[in-house]
Amino acid sequence: MTNDRRLELWLPRAMSRRRLITGTGAAAVLLAACGGDDTATSPSTQGGGQSTGGSTGTAGSPATTAGGSATTAGGSATTSGATPTSGGTLRVGLVGSTNDLIDGQYIVSKADQARCVTGWDPVVNYDTDFNISFEHSLAEEIETAAADNYVIRFKEGLEFHNGKPVTAEDIIYSFQRRIDPELNLAPGLAELLGPDGMTAIDDRTIEFQLLRPAVTFINSLAEYTTTIVPVDYARFDGDVSTQIGTGPFMLESFTPGTESVHVKNPNYWGSGLPLLDEVQIIDFADAQALTNALASGEIDAAIDIPFAQVATVESDSNLRILESQAGNWLVITMAIDQAPFDDVRVRQAMRLIANREEMVERVLAGHGRVANDMYGVLDPCYPSDIPQREQDIEQAMALLAEAGQENLTIDLFAPDDTAGLAELIAVFADQAQAAGVTVNAQVLDGGTYWGDEYTKRTFATSFWSTRPYLIQVAAGSLENAIYPETHWPPPDSDFAEKYEQAIAETDDGARCEIIAEMQQEEYDDGGNLIPFFYNLVDGHAANVRGFEARPNLLNLDHYGRGWKNIWLEG
């Protein structure tokens, strides 16, 4: 019976940072805000006019063309020489809620991520070195004519789940949907590309004319939500038959908050793939129930095992832990235009107080690696030659004394809904005592924390996932950034100009030089205290084969690239 109060104008939920971590328990959880690219490299394009060949995946295969590419992915599954077998049902557990959605080009939570990757393929992807690759994606070549003009050629013979071929109309529709201001799926891309910026050269080659020069356009193509959908595609609204994509599995049923069932796509462009017959993605209330389900064999794989449970899972001979290094980071932020942090010496002092190794032990239970106050660690332009900052209490106290801030007392805030932040401020407060600094660690309720005061506080915390350096700068380190947490850059700095230069620079070497300068400035004077990068920690049953522990942006080895390489042994 229809309800005449039913919402007609239901607006798509805008991305809220809090939503992304609701319900994910103690494991590190955090997810890109929409609009930011979820990746860590600058594009590996050559100087203008040359096309990018596909860089190779871990299996060492050459640039991929239609169809054949996927078999190289099959190669990586046979790590111990066992032969992959077809068939079977994989049950994957993760934390979800009745707010789950299915949209080939949009996600809010990790549950949505998993479902998106299962049914849709991105335009380009990253390999394990975070260079652009075409191994798991729909494009086969990108030609960079200029920083604002790109020609993308897609693989031949691509089909959707219903057998319909992928055409230029579908590709153009997909991009127009991505930048549609009403849907607001990718604000970052919408600033670069206008609805008339795409021209079909032939049925599988499209020219993109950007509104402004930006080499970060290619990074936006590598987002796992930049997928190709059929013309007139819309978000799941109750009818599974509308959820058509190009991915390895097709949607058979979906009950938000409970489970979704995906069946093998017989028309998948990766020949011989996927290996499984069916994938069930099952929602759990919290990470504890999820871990229990894995331990008692109710599910075959689970994402975000709480750090405290990792040892238990490892000691179970039927289970395996899958740990990937990524570039996700937690941060203590200092507003550079508010006392006492408007004095750069106080900022430097705080960074010298931190004992980063201890933080990795106490906050992450060892599941991470020390950071150097700079983000974008997986970006090829990351300046690894900058010396690692170590704890130096003496120097910190000297700087504070110079700035007239010895025996400083200050409040530091964290939310209660993000794994690791409450622990981080407690540990930092401990460490600060040695320097005579009294830090009042205050944990606020999540709703309050991310409310009006967020990005206005003097001394606070935050979380970010892996991004290329320039994308992260746009997200948090410019005056008009989406989340300007530290109110960077300082007024007399040319950081913003360098950013404009960098995104228009198509030569990798030149761009890396500019980025190195920008990173150096943030390293010296910035308001971010970044102590570590934390790992993604997942678990699976021993008979689930095909996952590899390698640097990744998403859990479970990028969800097995839509589970296509995953098979069940025995």
């Binding site: 109060r5 104008l9 707010n99 999820l290």
Partner: protein, 318 residues
């Protein structure tokens, strides 16, 4: 007729209680937070925010919102979910039945056990069974449900033995009894939460009854002790216990929420948790009223049951 009038009075009182509860629930959910901000996020355009407030009916005066909601509730239409516009009953659908089934099953298991334990302890007063069950009851009563639940999981599902599943998986469209083995641990958790209280009260009531004259008479007549206890004492001891039984059954309605979270049981407990986080007011209100309704109904049944079981009170009604 005394009883009929009594029942009618009690029902009216129950309805009045529910009305008062509805006012309190409505007032409290207004304090949950701003649903529009929860749905659209912090950076929503003022135009979108205004449009959504209009759609959700938040611009109407509070009294109108309340009366509209109440009339809808009574006529079987508790509104639509704020987050996706789907009618609340459709959103909760199977979950309501799943939760009710779990409650019912737990009640059917725990109450007879509690009565039996209390009776036996009273009959063998101060002996081994009595002291052991007293001590155990005390320990169980002091443990919060989630502790009991997690201990059972560690003991029987994941660590020590692996006899039962650690989670309950009911797939959409399946009946909740499709996998009774999976229900053992949740029901056991709830049972261990209820038995201590009911058995203690049963024991106390039974002790008192066993000391009364007519029991003495029955024993003097030579009836076997078993008959004395189960046929003569028990029906009289149950009366006072019915109120406690009612409270505990109603408590199950709330206890189910904790258990659902631990065992990932697809019921209204999980839906409530999500709804609160999302400030999904209609869903929260409906679940609150549902649980209140269960309380009122169960208490009503207990009152009526007490009357029926206690002839003295029946005569007083005339």
């Amino acid at each position: 007729m005394g009883i009929a009038k009594f029942i009618v009075k009690r029902v009216l009182l129950g309805v009045l209680t529910l009305v008062v509860v509805s006012i309190v629930v409505f007032a409290l959910t207004q304090a949950l937070g701003d649903p529009v901000e929860a749905i659209l996020g912090r950076e929503a355009q003022p135009a979108s925010v205004a449009a959504m407030r209009e759609q959700l009916g938040l611009n109407r005066p509070v009294i109108t919102q309340y009366t509209d909601w109440l009339t809808g509730l009574v006529s079987g239409d508790p509104g639509v979910s704020f987050t996706n516009g789907v009618p609340v009953l459709e959103v909760l659908g199977d979950r309501i039945w799943n939760s009710l089934f779990l409650m019912l099953l737990s009640a059917l298991v725990s109450i007879p056990i509690a009565i039996a334990v209390g009776t036996y302890a009273a009959a063998r007063r101060d002996k081994a069974f009595d002291s052991t069950s007293s001590a155990t009851s005390l320990v169980l009563a002091s443990m919060p449900e989630f502790v009991t639940g997690l201990l059972l999981i560690v003991l029987l599902a994941t660590n020590v033995w692996q006899v039962f599943p650690a989670v309950v998986r009911i797939r959409p469209g399946e009946a909740p009894w499709v996998d009774l083995g999976a229900l053992v641990l949740p029901v056991l958790t709830l049972t261990l939460g209820v038995v201590p209280y009911v058995s203690r009260v049963m024991r106390a009531s039974m002790i008192e009854v066993l000391e009364s004259d007519y029991i003495e008479m029955a024993r003097l007549k030579g009836l076997p002790e078993r008959t004395v206890v189960w046929r003569h004492a028990l029906p009289n001891a149950i009366g006072p216990t019915l109120q406690v039984i009612a409270i505990n059954i109603a408590y199950l309605a709330g206890g189910v929420i904790v258990v659902e979270n631990i065992f990932n049981y697809p019921g209204i407990g999980l839906a409530l948790r999500d709804a609160v986080t999302d400030v999904n007011v209609p869903v929260v209100q409906f679940i609150a009223m549902l649980i209140a309704g269960i309380y009122v109904v169960v208490n009503l049944l207990a009152d009526v049951g007490t009357i029926l079981v206690t002839p003295r009170l029946r005569t007083r009604l005339r």
